[in-house]
């Protein structure tokens, strides 16, 4: 007699609990990101805030050449700081919620991971199907394949070489020629410093404009395979010849050749130092052409900015003709959100990006331009010639690093040139990160 009511009493809470679990599960699954399964209604594009090159080109494409595609699938651009990009992409990828188009991979290793996980579109196959593969420069495809795990999985919205941009008038006024050796570069810097001009401007807040100087020195001193040897385990960053490169750049800081308060200087302010005549030189990639060719930003004159390669290190194994080459922070399309409407956009972009980019800002991309663009600024023409004449390229400092080494390198570079971290400790920190895998 007593068991029946008790079991009834028990059953109700059990049913209630099961119902609650069911509701909870539904709520949680409602919270979980879907994204990939549904067809995109917009061409969502997530880029790094620091990239100011692509958005204006896309806006023009959306309004003109790709108007039909934009009506069918409107473009929607959003930005996040580059420092947070890898973690954001990682999160979105693990939730199958990647945007249709996105910037990714601060380090090539991260890009290769996304590709291996099947998250990226294979452009070689898809562009072939669309009949527009020939609209991409073969050199750009080869650079991408070399960097990002062997596949053509990122698009060359930029195709850059790197070197030193300088103020031609400041050089001419002092009778200075483009330095051919590192010692000459240091001599030139000392003359500017004596005249109260900042010899080198670099963003310590970003860090990589400083570490690029270290890798350039390494490639000139030890040869183009200097960092490949580190990646292969045949050399260590703590070896004396590698520490010597960090020492050379730390010495520039110790001599006062960088901006005051360099650790807090952001990239735009750094550009501004050169473009307003406060600094004489800046190491940068040719994506900087967009700013250098803009008369509103460049108050020293569009024709007054020159470009030269990082000079040779005397007795070194590298050559001054070996430019670091890259496709900027790469941008790509998600494999799961690739629909016919997205394919239409991709075709239109491939056919028109190169032309619009060159016409709009003189910025060089890895997309061929349909018709020759005349009246290009002299600096852009000079860079185009250098790219065409370059037979061998090198990487950049963090290119073969893992994510932690890459981040530690950038974050600690300003400490190196402000004397807060010794070259030995800087290289040891990075080697420890590399050893940890």
């Amino acid at each position: 007699m007593t068991t029946a009511p008790r079991s009834r009493r028990l059953r109700r809470p059990v049913v209630a609990a099961l119902a609650a679990v069911g509701i909870g599960t539904m709520i949680l699954s409602g919270c979980a990101a879907g994204g990939s399964s549904s067809e995109p209604t917009k061409l969502t594009y997530l880029k790094n805030t620091e990239n100011t090159n692509t958005e204006p080109v896309f806006n023009e494409l959306a309004e003109n050449q790709c108007k039909t595609e934009n009506t069918a699938l409107p473009l929607e651009v959003s930005s996040i700081p580059q420092a947070d990009l890898d973690s954001q992409i990682q999160l979105l990828a693990s939730q199958n919620a990647l945007p249709v188009m996105f910037a990714a991979a601060g380090t090539p290793a991260e890009g290769a991971k996304l590709d291996k996980a099947g998250k990226l579109l294979n452009f070689e196959t898809e562009l072939e199907k669309l009949g527009v593969l020939d609209d991409i420069e073969p050199a750009a495809i080869s650079t991408i394949k070399n960097l990002y795990g062997g596949n053509f999985n990122f698009l060359p919205f930029q195709f850059n070489i790197e070197g030193i941009f300088y103020n031609k008038t400041m050089f001419a006024e002092r009778g200075l020629e483009e330095p051919q050796t590192y010692d000459e570069l240091v001599d030139v810097a000392s003359q500017f410093e004596a005249d109260g001009i900042t010899p080198f401007t670099a963003s310590g807040e970003q860090g990589w404009p400083i570490t690029r100087l270290i890798s350039s020195y390494l490639f000139r001193d030890l040869g183009p395979d200097a960092l490949q040897k580190v990646a292969d385990g045949d050399a260590k960053l703590t070896d004396p010849e590698y520490v010597a490169a960090a020492q050379a750049i730390a010495d520039l800081g110790a001599a006062g050749y960088f901006d005051d308060n360099i650790a807090s200087l952001d990239i735009d302010s750094s550009y501004n130092e050169l473009l307003t005549g406060k600094a004489a030189m800046m190491y940068m990639g040719t994506w900087f052409l967009e700013s250098a060719n803009d008369p509103e930003k460049n108050t020293v004159g569009v024709d007054n900015i020159g470009f030269m390669p990082f000079p040779a290190v005397e007795g070194g194994a590298g050559s001054i003709d070996q430019y670091p080459a890259n496709v900027g922070l790469p941008q790509t399309f998600g494999a799961d959100t690739y629909t016919p409407k997205v394919a239409d956009w991709l075709k239109c972009i491939t056919e028109n990006y190169g032309q619009v980019s060159l016409e709009q800002s003189g910025a060089i991309s890895g997309f061929k331009s349909k018709e020759p663009v005349t009246d290009l600024p002299a600096l852009t023409v000079d860079v185009q010639d250098r790219i065409a004449g370059s037979t061998e390229s090198v990487l950049w400092f963090e290119a073969l690093f893992n994510a932690k080494a890459g981040q530690d390198s950038s974050k600690n570079a300003s400490l190196l040139v402000t004397g807060q971290l010794s070259p030995e400790d800087f290289m040891k920190l990075l080697q420890t990160d590399l050893d940890a895998g």
Binding site: R9, R12, P13, A16, A17, A20, V21, G24, L28, A83, D86, S87, Q90, L91, A93, S94, E110, K113, L114, K116, A117, K119, G204, D259, D260, N261, I262, A263, S264, L265, D266, S269, N272, E273, N402, A403, K404, Q407, D408, K411, N412, S414, L415, T418, Q420, L421, T432, A436
Partner: protein
């Protein structure tokens, strides 16, 4: 009421939903995260069993030691400053400003409700050193001192973080401790005054002992908040320059999500949880002892 709360069904109805949500949102992820500590990998690439390697790595990783050092230094200093400044404000409200303290209380409390990111941006501008000097450096230059790259070195960046967080939170502790001081019966203070207690002796012998319970609560609030510091440091310095202002929370976040190592990130999270447990246990033990006096 006793009848209602004595009924198991009522207890199940009242506690069930909260317990279910707590289990799903807190307990399951905690256990899940603990499981990750024995693995290496991430959601994108998959996981592989890693034994106790994540734990042994903890003891040799210089970044963990640096982050732990920063977290402890920050938590201790900020707890002291928050509570001391908050207590100072509470005394000011109670004994100096008295009934006219409402406007000051509101103004000092205001930063508590402003988003941390907005405050961090404000302080970045205040302490800016490049390309142009911010207000603080302008003042320094105007009195003949040089410009300082505040966020460019670990020591000065730490000072800025502490100043910002004390400014941001002291209004809260001021109000919290003010309510405690209001609870001290007026007649006890009056009697002490009649007995000749004035100024510091009144504070030392009457006000301080009688506000100890609320001071304890403030310390618990403060240390539990500061040991988990993340947003203010992330927004102001991003853990830099280098890793010099990186607390454990930020290192954990970066390890898991930027360096794609959920396993080691979870192991750091476990260290943080143990730290919080130790602090909580110590505080509760101290509080219990106090009650028995």
């Amino acid at each position: 009421m006793k009848q209602v709360l004595g009924d198991r069904k009522t207890i199940a109805i009242l506690l069930g939903p909260a317990l279910l949500v707590y289990t799903l949102v807190i307990l399951v992820p905690v256990v899940w995260s603990f499981g990750y500590t024995f693995f290496k990998g991430n959601a994108l690439e998959g996981f592989e069993f890693n034994g106790i390697n994540n734990f042994t790595r903890l003891f040799t990783d210089p970044d963990v030691q640096a982050a732990l050092g920063f977290t402890v230094k920050y938590a201790l200093l900020l707890t002291i400053l928050q509570v001391v400044f908050g207590y100072g404000l509470a005394l000011l409200y109670t004994f100096v400003l008295k009934k006219s303290s409402a406007i000051i209380r509101t103004l000092v409390f205001f930063p508590v409700v402003v988003p941390t990111v907005a405050i961090a941006l404000l302080y970045q501008k205040l302490f800016q050193s490049a390309p142009k000097d911010g207000l603080v450096n302008e003042l320094l230059v105007n009195v003949g001192l040089g410009s300082v790259d505040w966020l460019g070195s670990g020591t000065t960046a730490f000072i800025v973080i502490v100043i910002m967080d004390v400014w941001r939170s002291m209004g809260f502790y001021g109000v919290l401790l003010y309510t405690g001081l209001l609870d001290i019966p007026e007649d006890i203070i009056e009697s002490a005054r009649i007995d000749g207690a004035r100024g510091f002796s009144l504070f030392k012998n009457i006000v301080l002992p009688m506000s100890l319970p609320i001071l304890y609560s403030s310390i618990i609030f403060s240390i539990n908040g500061t040991i988990k510091v993340f947003d203010s440091v992330f927004a102001l310095t991003g853990g830099g320059p280098g890793n010099e202002t990186t607390p454990l929370t930020l290192y954990m976040y970066r390890t898991a999500f930027a360096f794609s190592d959920y396993g080691y990130g979870s192991t750091i999270a476990l260290v943080l949880s143990i730290m919080c447990l130790i602090v909580t246990a110590l505080i509760f033990r101290g509080a219990r002892r106090d009650n028995t006096i």
